[in-house]
């Protein structure tokens, strides 16, 4: 290993909190001590990453308290030191950390909440694509409707949670009383409309429609599946799906429609 590589490794290890012999590599400052100077770097390392996490997951801090959040952040930084060029990406493994770390895996809603918060950020920065409008649909001949396939905007993300994480998130955002954490299968969709990201809860039937469309199924297939799964009477399936698609279209969830 070159002298430069060795020096960088030794300093980095020190900054990350492991006690290694860096002192012999450094000049004693005219004022103060080497330890004080090194602390500038090690403190900045912790502070910068904790602050970055707090900026993204302020709602999580609100839920568990600032002190507990800092503890969580420190544990995360130790387990998943940043491997990303951008500090904004450093938090990507946080949901995974919360689901696998013994101190947090007993609170599974935390991992789900983090996924939801991150999704809202990701949707804000997702690729641009045109929004499908009603005019494009109006140009489709009625006999072609069964074969219509819709493509979601790149910002659309679907989540199926096992705990009432969406309700907890909603209570945090709306500053309402916090529901007790409970096991509850629930669905939600996250997307961007204009320059704002949104999250909305979905019913079982709505989640099914979203998943089928994501997998490329056309309008007729979706209606049939909603009926087949027993989520809707046959007579109601088509109008249910059509109304849902109209709502999503109006909210800019679609970017394209084409014939299958």
């Amino acid at each position: 290993m070159s002298a430069l590589a060795n020096l960088q490794q030794v300093l980095q290890t020190h900054i990350m909190g492991e006690d290694v012999q860096i002192l012999n590599e450094l000049v004693v400052p005219t004022k103060g001590t080497i330890d004080e100077r090194l602390e500038v770097y090690s403190n900045a390392y912790d502070w910068r990453l904790i602050d970055a996490l707090h900026q993204e997951y302020g709602l999580l801090a609100k839920l568990i308290g600032d002190e507990a959040f800092t503890e969580l952040a420190e544990a995360f930084i130790d387990t998943y030191p940043s491997q990303f060029y951008s500090i904004a990406k450093f938090s990507e493994p946080l949901a995974q950390f919360l689901s696998e770390d013994s101190a947090y895996s007993k609170q599974p809603h935390l991992s789900e909440l983090v996924k939801l918060i991150k999704a809202l950020i990701i949707s804000l920065e997702a690729a641009d694509a045109p929004y499908l409008n009603f005019e494009a649909l109006a140009n489709m001949a009625e006999q072609n409707w069964p074969s219509l396939c819709f493509k979601f905007h790149p910002s659309v993300q679907y989540f199926c949670f096992n705990y009432n994480s969406y309700a907890i998130w909603q209570a945090l955002v709306q500053e309402k009383s916090m529901p007790t954490m409970q096991m509850l299968k629930n669905h939600c969709v996250v997307w961007r409309k204009g320059l704002q990201s949104y999250a909305v809860a979905l019913t079982e039937a709505e989640a099914l429609v979203l998943n089928l469309i994501q997998q490329g199924f056309c309008f007729a297939d979706v209606c049939e599946a909603v009926y087949d799964k027993g989520l809707m009477a046959e007579s109601q399936a088509a109008s249910f799906v059509a109304n849902l698609l109209a709502t999503w279209l109006n909210n800019h969830l679609f970017s394209e429609v084409k014939l299958s």
């Binding site: 020096l7 980095q12 500038v40 910068r48 491997q83 997702a126």
Partner: protein
């Protein structure tokens, strides 16, 4: 590359709406490169709209030009894509390293001023410039430690790299001030050693004085000592694009605008003094 771009400010999301609504009389903005290496959406929407109104330069924090890890080609590709889109007047990053072994400290860590480090950095700057198809600007960083291995001064190190790699310099006046206090050197020795033709941009910023040392925090107004050093820099380097960086405790846009007027006033007074009638 334009030699003189005027007086600019760091582009910060807190100011997007103000800039678009008021279109302040700013010559240019400096965008943090990494903030815009995203697929699309809000950050790029604002960047593109502001680019329609103002010249932009890209200022990165992740190049890690001095690291012993391989250059991050994926990062460089994204920088090039962004540059192709927004056509910045120039692209800058720091003379530092940010991590090794695949890790990132997200800090601008100093290099030892050695021949080995010079060769290492020069080779990498050449690779980056070849890849981007343009000269880059390297900025001097603030530092709190000095390595025993260093056998030249920081200004000799920076100058040698700029000359050998044929890159340009972003001279951070506050960083020179901070490092001069921390390492007990005369900041004028630094300024006077930097080749005039290499300097394309100045940075100005605030810092935190901790008594025995100073931390480069970018969270406060510029202090008098840094203004004085800036005046010395203008005397030596002439018309150099100048901007103020503020990354924490970011005030309303007009506060920074007013601070920038002070930089303009200092520079113009010195330019006037230097006008000769033959």
């Amino acid at each position: 590359m334009d030699a003189f771009l005027g007086f600019g400010l760091g582009l910060r999301p807190q100011h997007y709406t103000y800039i678009l609504e008021h279109r302040p009389a700013i010559d240019w903005f400096e965008a943090i490169t990494e903030d815009y290496l995203v697929p699309g959406g809000k950050p790029l929407y604002y960047l593109n709209r502001i680019r329609e109104l103002y010249p932009l330069v890209m200022h990165g924090v992740s190049l890690s030009i001095g690291s012993c890890d391989p250059l991050n080609t994926e990062y460089l590709k994204q920088v090039k894509v962004l540059a192709d889109k927004i056509q910045p007047v120039w692209i800058s990053d720091h003379l530092c390293w940010t991590g090794v072994d695949g890790l990132n400290m997200h800090d601008l860590l100093p290099l030892p001023y050695t021949e080995e480090a010079v060769k290492h950095v020069v080779d990498r700057v050449k690779q980056v410039q070849d890849f981007l198809g343009r000269q880059i600007l390297l900025e001097n960083v603030s530092s709190y430690i000095e390595y025993r291995d260093s056998n030249v001064t920081e200004w000799e190190f920076l100058t040698t790299i700029a000359e050998q790699a044929d890159c340009l310099i972003l001279l951070d006046i506050n960083n020179i001030y901070v490092s001069a206090v921390n390492h007990y050197f005369d900041p004028l020795d630094y300024l006077n050693a930097i080749p005039i033709h290499r300097v394309r941009q100045f940075h100005l910023a605030g810092h935190k004085n901790c008594g025995d040392y100073i931390i480069d925090t970018h969270d406060a107004p510029i202090i008098e000592g840094v203004w004085s050093l800036y005046a010395q820099a203008v005397k030596r380097f002439g018309r150099v694009a100048t901007m103020i960086e503020r990354d924490d405790d970011i005030p309303e846009f007009p506060v920074l605008f007013d601070e920038l007027q002070q930089a303009k006033k200092i520079a113009k007074n010195i330019w006037k003094e230097n006008v000769c009638i033959s």
